[in-house]
Symmetry: C3
Subunit: 479 residues, 3 copies
């Protein structure tokens, strides 16, 4: 136990390895020899990175002879797998496909007591069986298997992380071996994250397989909303006019119809960002306590607000570009702006000026919000700034978008022609949810409710949650 | 060699804790048991994060019985506060409101010798009295109080930092306890920053309360400039025409007037970004030395250039969008572009082409500049690149904006009508400062001045600063 | 008490120093005394940062007397160079110009055994002679010279890194001294990167001198392409018409001609992003193995795809802005959009709608791609997500851009006037390369080729590469 502890122990460059190194071969600048089994792409990239960070690397291949010259950088020794394992002082990477782990059993003695790093990925997302790292650990009981580096691409390894914030997920059942790899990771310029025991490798190996998991919900909602409103517009502005009066509006499909659909989608998505917060508040008020969990659907919804917001921003942005582009081909431009251009009165100049201003400002605020969702920007914000951006600016954007829509549809909402075929215009439908959210927010801002909510969130509980009075005191101090 | 090694051993997983852990309960994967007092939101989020990083967590509540199932993740034991304190091996978080710290005095013995982490925030920005952490330290003299994690939101804790660059400010009077918490922070995937002794907790606790402190100045300046020019435009283009000839231009207020104001503000702000640099250079030239401090207002101004620049970029961007939008409603569009459209000659096509090109390129360059102000982009730049962007591209943007304005206002500047009511057009006023800056920059680029300045910045001093000649030699080598 | 203190103490700041510190002067909170030789700007900024991180700092100046009050923050002692060296416990920064290192020889004894940090930059990029750090190491053989901090600007030191991802390149021949500086760096809130032995200092010192080295290629290609197509347009639309029929189209030079050139450049650049990938695939298919190196020009090209892509995005973006701006001055607007406006038929409304949609969507996709090139965004992506963005979305953008161009030039391609002076229109020339790339990609997607390629990339080799069959088995398992 002692040596390994000492080994794992040192601060930021594994010391005993250093010690040996500096004693045995001073020219090595106190950097330990790292072993890599396998001579494929990942092995090559890893070797490049290790050498660049001042390590000596020994790559073990089945037949080192036929590896072409210059495939590996200088400072890398190409040896047989056994030689590589033996000359590696402490850490050995297994850079071969998991299905070939069994071919290494011959090296068991050489690997005993050393840190064996599994860098493989899962091939499927299904659960149940052991992870590659766990299988490796079963094959080599005397080695200390550490999982890591699978989330880093060969590309990132070669070029090196250009800021120190590229994360490497690491886990192992041997904490000092893990510490060694953690330090190694940091020396390579990455940011190690310790995920605990080797069992975590099951998730770590699957990490590279996920495709924007957090975006599924938001994308689906956006898609469905778009589908609905696009269909609605097609029916109202293209299909029915054609069937009823043989009007040929089909040319509107690619631009006009899309551009009438996008703002509706953006507006509703923005409403959906702030709805869950209201629901949560109402729930807490109704229950009179914050010590009951929210239903899981609400939790999930809360966790997806960022994605919903960005989707709303996307739609709003594209809407802006479309609106501008539509002016290129004014003759066919049936959107209301140019409609105004034909019969323009000071009154609806006012209107159009106002709705343009609201639209521009609303989009501007949304842009600022979207900026804070960049990790590097968000990281620089403190609580209050983040709340100010998300809640304060968020509701400002919502209000501006609603005003934009109101000013836009103002008097047109009173033209009978707007209700052609008894179908209300899209922007009216799109306004319902956001307005509900806005009104709800205003109501929650009423002192009576706001104060009670604040109390609840500080830990206070309404009596009907409390068997005895003194319980309240007991819980009031939970942060 | 031994002690430092042991010492070093603590580096990335507090070793002694690990040691105990691995010996006493191997199944724990060498992760120490962390204690949390309090079962509120922060406690819950912290527990989730700790478990996710492979720690065992014991949460101490006044009455663990009534915490609803599933509120805390598996791997978290809910116990009484005393049990939690006792079973925690080294680190205990105090996740209750500071006003209730006194309720913990009963646990004093249990907490003795252990690391007690204060995660609370200040409630007010006023100074003077002790920080929460200092009060906690007074209550528990035998415990080692460490301040930290208050800058991390419960939200960030639950989701985990997605890159390793989220900073956690930490301070303590006990350096080894601090080191322990620093390592813990890093294992949770955050980036700890050691701010020294516990007295620093006064600032750390206030950190989350600040609202964009560095932006106050720039925002105020922008607001005042906008106010002034907007007022000026209203008087010149709306009020006076109405009073004098009863012209009704009020409909211009929301768009046209704003759009005449924004470019002026943007231009002057851009000038203000580069003015302090000139002032500093002139000061150094006049003093003949760089070893005298700048007046504090100049220092402060220098520190706010980035914010001023971004504000200028914001105004320029909105100006661009407004200009485009104004074309939607051309009939009422009185801005000069469309004015040109009516009586267009090849000559002022040239003009308009040029001023549009300058405007577009200027905005493009400003966009590149704004990009480098993103932390993740700026971090990837080295000195020379940063200087090239800020100084080189910056002055390019300034020059292009000035040309944009000049081409725009060229012949209009010579129409008497431009000076209606004896008020010069806004763009002339807006040009003064930027032109001064540009001329100043050019003058400073003259060899005679440039060389002298370079010498001064390398440490040389003009004789009148020097009692004796050999002093110069003495100081010439200060970097 | 001793062990834990030692233990903890080493974690993030060299232990022995801590030990002394805490024993000799407890008020120092276990933070070691850091020495700085030199009292210039860098020295001042460094001192500010060190004090902010809780260190005690002693600055050594030739004559501390005449340093103005308040130039250095409180907590910094101004002493003679000798006193500074003596009172520094372990780490001393040499913040003077390299040409004055020789003036320090008098301090040799005081510096013996201590860590001497060289923060200087190279003045020229030429290679050959020793680096400043190496020269310093020769001057002070008993000191342990560590290179570092030269990549950090005085400015970044003063303000402190706002996220933990600002990298500091460090190297030294003494690994434990290096470890000390590495820990120090981290405590200052930066992200240290160990580049190995002191010889690496030659590169480190030159790092700040490079000006976007990775951009040279892409910028040059873009510039040449722009030059060629601009010239081509000038000849075709301005020069020849003038010479042949005396048409005066010179006013087109600043906007129209640029705007006809940009999309061609953007399109070809986008093609150049995906061409090398195809070439590589074809090479592997032809060779029947992945164990032969690519020619170096292909490697370099592969490494520059990101820059080429961003350049293409830049051109496309400016093209969009120009196209919009051109509508300001429609009377002179000869670009085809407004040309359509004159004689508009339902048929080419369709066309224009489609080509606008494709253009907008294409630019939108390019924007998403550009976003992922932000370090902080890219860091958050895993393999599969990155591949999806780069390859999937990338080809989507390419396809959309090609369609945009096709729809744009559709029937015009069949007007004889388009081939005036026997010169084909630019967009036809620009389409060739991208179409080739797209077709190539489609061919490689054919099962026969795709499967073989997949096999090769998994390590399989075609027989003609293999002396004996069993070799294949041997190599098949290289990752």
């Amino acid at each position: 136990m002692k040596t390994p502890l000492l080994a794992g122990s040192d601060a930021d460059a594994d010391a005993d390895a250093d010690a040996d190194a500096t004693e045995s071969l001073p020219q090595r600048l106190g950097n330990p020899v790292i072993g890599i089994i396998g001579s494929g792409d990942f092995s090559r990239s890893l070797a490049i990175r290790l050498v660049a960070s001042g390590f000596s690397v020994v790559v073990g291949s089945r037949n080192p002879k036929r590896i072409p010259k210059g495939l590996f950088p200088d400072g890398v020794e190409l040896r047989s797998q056994r030689e590589a394992v033996d000359s590696a002082e402490r850490v050995i990477f297994a850079a071969i496909y998991p299905e070939h782990y069994s071919t290494l059993v011959g090296l068991r003695d050489g690997l005993a007591g050393k840190v064996l790093v599994d860098v493989s990925n899962a091939t499927r997302l299904d659960d149940g069986e052991l992870s590659n790292a766990e299988q490796l650990a079963e094959l080599f009981p005397q080695s200390r298997v550490v999982k890591g580096f699978n989330v880093i691409s060969a590309w990132a390894l070669q070029t090196g992380a250009h800021d120190g914030s590229r994360q490497v997920l690491i886990c192992s059942d041997c904490s000092d071996s893990k510490a060694t790899v953690v330090q190694l990771t940091r020396r390579l310029g990455f940011s190690p994250v310790d995920l605990g025991g080797l069992v975590a490798s099951r998730d770590i190996e699957k990490a590279p397989l996920h495709l924007f998991p957090s975006w599924e919900g938001a994308t689906l909602v956006t898609f469905l909303l778009f589908l609905f409103f696009y269909g609605y517009n097609v029916v109202k502005h293209v299909l029915l006019p054609y069937l009823a009066h043989g009007e040929h509006n089909f040319y509107q499909l690619p631009l006009e119809t899309v551009n009438q659909t996008l703002p509706a989608v953006a507006l509703i998505l923005l409403g959906l960002v702030y709805l869950p917060g209201l629901v949560a508040a109402v729930l807490q008020l109704a229950r009179g306590t914050k010590y009951k969990r929210f239903p899981s659907w609400l939790d999930r919804w809360m966790c997806r607000r960022k994605e919903l917001g960005l989707m709303s921003f996307l739609c709003a942005g594209v809407h802006a570009v479309y609106s501008i582009s539509l002016n290129f081909i004014s003759p066919t431009n049936i959107n209301l702006t140019s409609f105004m251009n034909q019969n323009l009165t000071k009154q609806n100049v006012w209107r159009s000026d106002l709705y343009l201003s609201c639209g521009i400002l609303g989009l501007g605020v949304l842009t600022l919000l979207a900026l804070t969702s960049l990790p590097s920007v968000g990281n620089a914000l403190n609580w209050r700034e983040f709340t100010f951006m998300q809640s304060g600016l968020g509701y400002a954007a919502l209000t501006l978008s609603i005003m934009h829509t109101l000013f836009f549809g103002w008097d047109f909402a009173f033209f009978p022609e707007a209700y052609r075929y008894y179908l209300p215009p899209v922007y009216l439908l799109a306004l319902i949810l956001p307005c509900v959210v806005l009104v709800g927010r205003v109501l929650l801002a009423l002192p009576c409710l706001a104060l009670r909510l604040a109390k609840i969130r500080r830990g206070w509980e309404s009596s009907h949650n409390q068997p005895n009075q003194q319980r309240q005191q007991l819980l009031a101090n939970q942060m």
